[in-house]
């Protein structure tokens, strides 16, 4: 086990930077998730820690040692690939034994460790099979087994669950989290799936265009996104964004969105007064928008254009002018397409972002 420290790392491919001046410290035993859309540089970052890519600039430490010039095989890391990368010509047993053989461990030790890893992942009965004879879930377990078998300092995981079907993915997610807690190995996990990030991570680092946008525990990132990108990327359905200008009538602040306006929550007044008359982006999550079928003061009238029944709840999609707004409602809420409903956008959980910089103000 070891901490990992990434310091001012930049990676440039043919003059276009994939990762820009990235710094990140991962504590010993921590489960850190790198989250972001495809092409944001998260996999490149992981591959630089693995030693499969060389940073153009900056330093990477594993434990106390600078590893920039250390070959992957000497970094004492294990990686789980999105494709699993099992050796197709070897049995499961030989796949698990391969990293131990490469380290010239004695035969009895290899057998002992392979049996232990196989037992941990409940794949003992598969040891004599070849990868092509396994299901997707079983292959995924073997890939994990190959990572844990030699007890490395750091696990690197590159979207290891993305090839599993939805049900198996959720199940494996829980198991993976438990496994990591039990073994206690520092883990860096790359994914574009925000739900995966939220459930697995001790801390999540959200990336965009090679730059970390925010690092923090999932709950904090969800409740206090540092900018509009993070706010929109984390959470499902995505946060509602409304463009408008902050106006005041007496002590009350409102957001004027052109053909409609609504009051902002009193609790936010003090920090927003300085933005009076400025253009801002207001963000509010579906669960913070309440919706009724009666016209109500300060609620915004919208026309329903769709609803998603989720079983335990439903999401009502409304339209006002060009503005789409999603609200969470109970399953028995009647949302007939084309009918009018009223949505309350005033909430202490609303977020205000500077329109120009997109940074969070509140």
């Amino acid at each position: 086990m070891a901490r990992v420290s990434i310091q001012n790392v930049t990676k440039v491919y043919k003059a276009s930077p994939a990762v820009k001046d990235l710094s990140l410290d991962i504590a010993d035993g921590e489960f850190l998730v790198l989250l972001g859309p495809s092409g944001c540089g998260k996999t490149t970052t992981l591959r630089m820690v693995a030693g499969l890519e060389r940073p153009t600039d900056g330093s990477i430490y594993i434990g106390e040692s600078l590893v920039n010039d250390v070959h992957p095989k000497d970094r004492d890391i294990a990686m789980v690939f999105q494709s699993y990368a099992l050796y197709p010509h070897m049995t499961v047993h030989d796949n698990l034994a391969f990293p131990l053989k490469m380290r010239k461990e004695p035969k009895e030790k290899i057998e002992e460790k392979v049996s232990k890893a196989a037992a941990t992942l409940e794949i003992t009965e598969l040891l004599q099979r070849r990868p092509r004879e396994l299901s997707g879930g079983q292959r995924q377990r073997v890939a994990l087994g190959r990572a844990i078998v030699r007890n490395p300092k750091v696990f690197l995981m590159d979207e290891p669950l993305s090839n599993l079907d939805a049900k198996l993915r959720v199940q494996t997610r829980v198991e993976l989290k438990n496994l990591q807690k039990r073994i206690g190995t520092t883990t860096i996990y790359v994914t574009h799936d925000q739900a995966e990030a939220m459930t697995l991570a001790d801390r999540v680092a959200i990336m965009k265009q090679g730059v970390i946008q925010q690092v923090g525990p999932p709950a904090q990132v969800y409740a206090h996104p540092s900018n509009k990108f993070v706010a929109g990327f984390v959470g499902s359905p995505a946060m509602n964004f409304l463009e408008g200008v902050i106006t005041s009538s007496g002590s009350e602040l409102s957001l004027n969105c052109g053909d409609f306006s609504f009051p902002l929550d009193q609790s936010q007044s003090s920090s927003l007064t300085r933005l009076l008359g400025k253009k801002v982006t207001y963000g509010i999550r579906a669960e913070d928008v309440s919706v009724t079928q009666q016209s109500t003061e300060n609620y915004v009238e919208v026309s329903v254009f769709g609803s998603e029944q989720m079983g335990s709840e439903q999401f009502v999609h409304g339209k006002r002018g060009k503005q789409d707004i999603v609200a969470r409602a109970s399953t028995n809420f009647r949302a007939d397409i084309g009918s009018s409903v009223w949505m309350n956008l005033t909430s202490p959980n609303g977020h205000v972002f500077d329109s120009a910089s997109e940074e969070a103000v509140v």
Binding site: K73, A85, P99, M102, R132
Partner: protein, 294 residues
């Protein structure tokens, strides 16, 4: 009434199918006919082309009194200074060396073209293909002059080197394609698991590309075992002849030993047949299935 996806047989379909099969049968007969004739001649007494009144399929003669005499005379064949044993040994040494050299050189070359990015990669790849755009005989004279200067005419190397180089163009292409088809994740996984680049190549990539390695070996084998033109130029001493040169010696200006010639042709075909049988399973099996993806 056939219940295939195509539905009912119509007159058009029947005619189409008949034409297709007729074409295939004609092509098969054209390619196998000379072989059958050689087999027949090899077992026919006397040194004439096979004749007889019993015809297989109506046009291949079957000997009235089949004999193994021609095979015995092949084994006892001598041409001043060279025996059948010498020629067989020469052919084996040259062919085995060519196959080994070709495989040993094209595997790393294919690997480099597949996995490494280096300046001039495309141009280098093209330069290997360039010679294949000219007829082989065009290069024989310059090759002879170069090897004469190097003192390699009348030596095994005089054949082994050109055969090996001659196999490069196609073989490197095949190996590059084979390595390209192995996901890079596998080498990277091996590297992270503690393998050096050579180990990853040797223990992961090579076992996964055996079918292509078999093809490359076969190509090198055929190119040297059956070659006549280059050997004819390079190997002048009778004791250094390969089997195709010895075979040619049976055709003299005054007489052609058809029976012995045919028997020797069959003997020469035996290793080709065996090699095909051995490699057949590799030629048809793909090993990479199940390696990646769920």
């Amino acid at each position: 009434m056939k219940g295939s996806a195509g539905g009912r047989w119509t007159v058009g379909k029947v005619v189409q199918s008949a034409l297709k099969h007729a074409f295939l049968i004609i092509m098969a007969v054209i390619s196998i006919y000379p072989v059958l004739w050689v087999v027949s001649t090899a077992f026919t007494p006397g040194e004439t082309l096979a004749t007889g009144w019993h015809f297989l399929l109506g046009f291949v003669p079957i000997p009235d009194h089949p004999t193994l005499d021609h095979f015995a005379s092949v084994l006892n064949l001598q041409v001043t200074g060279g025996t059948f044993a010498d020629w067989l040994r020469n052919s084996l040494v040259i062919t085995v060396s060519t196959v080994l050299a070709s495989v040993a050189l094209t595997l790393p070359a294919g690997y480099a073209f597949s996995r490494r990015v280096f300046p001039g990669r495309g141009a280098l790849m093209f330069s290997f293909l360039l010679p294949t755009m000219f007829p082989g005989v065009v290069t024989i004279i310059p090759q002879f002059l170069i090897f004469a200067t190097l003192g390699l005419v009348n030596s095994y190397l005089g054949c082994i080197i050109p055969y090996t180089v001659g196999s490069f163009a196609l073989s490197i292409f095949i190996m590059k394609g084979a390595f390209d088809s192995v996901p890079r994740d596998l080498d990277e996984a091996a590297t992270i698991d503690g393998a050096s680049e050579f180990r990853a190549f040797w223990q992961i990539l090579i076992p996964l590309t055996l079918p292509s390695i078999a093809t490359v070996s076969l190509w090198a084998f055929m190119g040297s075992w059956l070659d006549f033109a280059l050997a004819h130029v390079m190997l002048q001493s009778n004791s250094l002849w390969t089997l195709p040169l010895a075979l040619y010696s049976l055709i003299t200006p005054t007489y052609t030993y058809y029976g012995t010639f045919s028997a020797m042709s069959l003997i020469m075909a035996v290793p080709v047949f065996i090699v095909f049988m051995i490699f057949q399973k590799y030629l048809v099996t793909g090993l990479t299935s199940g390696s990646v993806k769920g």
